[in-house]
Amino acid sequence: MRRAAFGAALFLALFLVLAFLTLPIVAIFVHTSPGDLISSLGEEDARDALWLSLQTSLAALTVIVIVGTPAAYLLATREFRARSVVVTLIELPLVLPPAVAGIALLASFGPKGLFGGALDDAGIELVLQTAGVIVALTFVAAPFYLRQAQEAFAAVDRNLLDAARTLGASEARAFIRVAVPCAGQGITSGLALAWGRALGEFGATLMFAGSFSGITQTVPLAIFARFSSDFTSALALSGVLVLVSAALLLSVKILGRSMVLGGGAA
């Protein structure tokens, strides 16, 4: 009897989770006909925003993967004294409100920020530029990837890496041919989380990069700009973002699975 009650409680909990997390998304599509979705893409501003979101989030993701993967590998495989401090610092942006991230970016890379003068001397302009959007996205999304990649590398069987080295593989080769494929699923799920976070970024982008169609107005900013003047079009664009994000999430998951299979065969 008690067992049945516990089972029922579990199901109830899952039902509540599912209902609460999916209802708002269902509501978007209840209010938006497929026609609205398509016609929202007819607006040039909306297409610009979508294109800009894809470009900037991909650019941010590229930087995150290229620099973040080896960094996560180091954190996962070496013990050093300040390791836990480093991990905490890296994860800090995860818990920062976007507005804080925006202010922090302005205070560091803005014209009056810590490095503003140095950037200006180097002829690099970030604030109110597309490059600034990429900086904002990288800042908020990187910790999601780093965290997942680090866990994935930590879970890789050390014996496999040792075996690779014994068989004459260099450190770098063991990293690329053994560690990365073995950690593939964790890495790709980190990739999906980081991508999702980058696509959804709003506050830091608005504060650091501003909002200008075609230059800095990503989809979330375009949705916000429409919120007051044209709620239907804001909903439709939201629907498009949901679909794009879902498609990305799904394809990254599929990629992750095939990487694992491929890695197992190698």
Binding site: L106, G110, P111, L128, G210
Partner: protein, 247 residues
């Protein structure tokens, strides 16, 4: 299951608080971002228990259209309160103050007229067309010669959702100039300076406030708006640089 009951009770408490169920004197106000300083001073001086959310007037109007019910709606124009009144969402709007649109620049800037904005390389922030400050700005620029207007628009780098975004971009040096209200320059505490617009370009910037239909505290809302016309609220508005309503 007992713990679920505890959680449910907690949630009820939270929801109750959010709805203002406990203190019936509290006035919930949705106000234009440019009223920030003035309204905070008013509430402090008069000892009013108020919960104020500041944002772009258009955004607050959209929330009211989506079913959000504050007690008072105060906008940076009269168009939005009039529209909401026609839709039956707010009572008859009252003009509470007037303001002036200015060109704002950092206090050490060389820019001193609209002409300087046409220089290539000058960067400008203005309000999004949907927010009152952005629509006033477009009214002003619409009166300029096409060539000058085009040159100014090509220097715009950001269309911000409210005045605080424009002021922030200016004080951070992200842009060289921006169109805000004279009251925002006052509120910047000397970081920004205002360049008056030529009198024939100055738009009529009137602030309208109204009691929201279905307000939980209509008496408090009425008293809040009356206080803006005379007494502590009027004083706070003057101190922030707002002018009294005409007549």
């Amino acid at each position: 299951m007992a713990s679920l009951a505890v959680i449910a009770t907690c949630l009820e408490g939270l929801v109750g608080c959010g709805g203002g169920g406990e203190s019936s004197d509290q006035v919930v106000v949705s106000a234009a971002a440019s009223l920030d300083t003035a309204f905070r001073d008013y509430v402090d001086a008069a000892g009013i228990d108020a919960k104020i959310s500041f944002a772009g007037s258009d955004e607050l109007a959209a929330q009211i259209r989506q079913g959000v019910r504050p007690d008072v709606y105060a906008a940076a124009n009269t168009t939005l309160p009039d529209q909401l009144h026609k839709e039956g969402l707010v009572g008859n709007p009252t003009v509470i103050a007037t303001n002036a649109l200015v060109l704002a620049v950092p206090n050490d800037s060389q820019i001193d007229s609209l002409d300087d904005l046409t220089e290539p390389g000058t960067t400008i922030a203005m309000g999004d067309p949907a927010v009152p400050v952005g629509s006033y700005t477009r009214d002003v620029l619409g009166k300029l010669a096409a060539e000058q207007r085009g040159a100014i628009f090509s220097n715009v780098r950001s269309e911000e959702p409210d005045v605080s975004g424009i002021a922030g971009k200016l004080t951070q040096g992200a842009v060289d100039a921006g169109f805000v209200y004279v009251t925002d320059v006052t509120a910047s505490g000397g970081e920004l300076k205002a360049i008056q617009l030529p009198a024939d370009l100055q738009p009529d910037v009137s602030y309208g406030a109204a009691v929201v239909s279905g307000a939980k505290n209509p008496e408090g809302a009425r008293a809040f708006i009356d206080g803006l016309l005379r007494g502590d609220g009027a004083r706070a508005l003057r101190n922030s640089g707002f002018k009294p309503p005409p007549g």
